[in-house]
Symmetry: C2
Subunit: 137 residues, 2 copies
């Protein structure tokens, strides 16, 4: 199956602008039809989703391009480099998870604290300086 920019945007959740932006930056292979219009296929969906994952790990577009080039390289050690890249990013993903857990904990406490105040169980001790609960980081 072949897809245009609009369909691709629907399938990936990215905006059409971002789809064009990423192809302009050559983060993934992109065909053109005889009129110069971008044409995508099922493989492209995997590329875009992979790019979204790497962005979630905080990888810059420049970093993704490096990785993308590794994926299309036929050098002997490309596979090892790709592995090392991904293994490093996995570590980042684990750290993100820990941060996300701490964040949820903080928000839960914060909201519970506010509920206590609104229920009259607690004084409003935070009128002039909020953020008294311990942090998420």
């Amino acid at each position: 199956m072949k897809y245009n920019v609009k369909q691709m945007a629907q399938m990936t959740g990215l905006s059409e602008h971002t789809i064009r932006f990423y192809t302009d930056k050559e983060l993934l292979p992109c065909q053109r039809d005889e009129k110069g219009r971008r044409v995508f296929d099922d493989e492209s969906i995997n590329w875009f989703r992979g790019i979204q994952c790497l962005r979630s790990c905080g990888v810059s577009l420049e970093g993704i391009k490096v990785y993308s080039n590794l994926c299309m390289s036929d050098e002997d050690d490309a596979m090892v480099k790709r592995y090392e890249f991904m293994a490093a990013q996995r570590q980042v993903a684990y750290e993100r998870l820990k941060e996300a857990q701490a964040l949820v904990e903080y928000m839960d406490k914060k909201v519970a604290h506010y509920e206590d105040i609104l229920a009259g169980k607690l004084e409003d001790d935070t009128r002039m300086a909020d953020f008294k609960s311990e942090c998420c980081k």
Copy 2:
């Protein structure tokens, strides 16, 4: 205890630039000494940490300023508004957590797949189109 910008940066993990940037944007109260230098106290640490949490939830600096003003407001319904704001952000935090879990899952699969290829258990089926595993989102 009173702290200067450098000490504040060490305690919060933010850069000195960001500390100045946030105070310039009036995201939190900030005293000055007789020479015009920023002076922070223990309360400031809570402000900065709270700001970091809201940023992690994806709240814009403009949004944080709104919340910050609510915290310093003496209007009757400020507390209710603060509660509603935080309750909404907690929902975002839960979504972030789910995304972070899916991301870790994706990265684990990806790395395991690469390990299989490097161990010779699998063909390198991804030379020209990577990202074949299902996505994290």
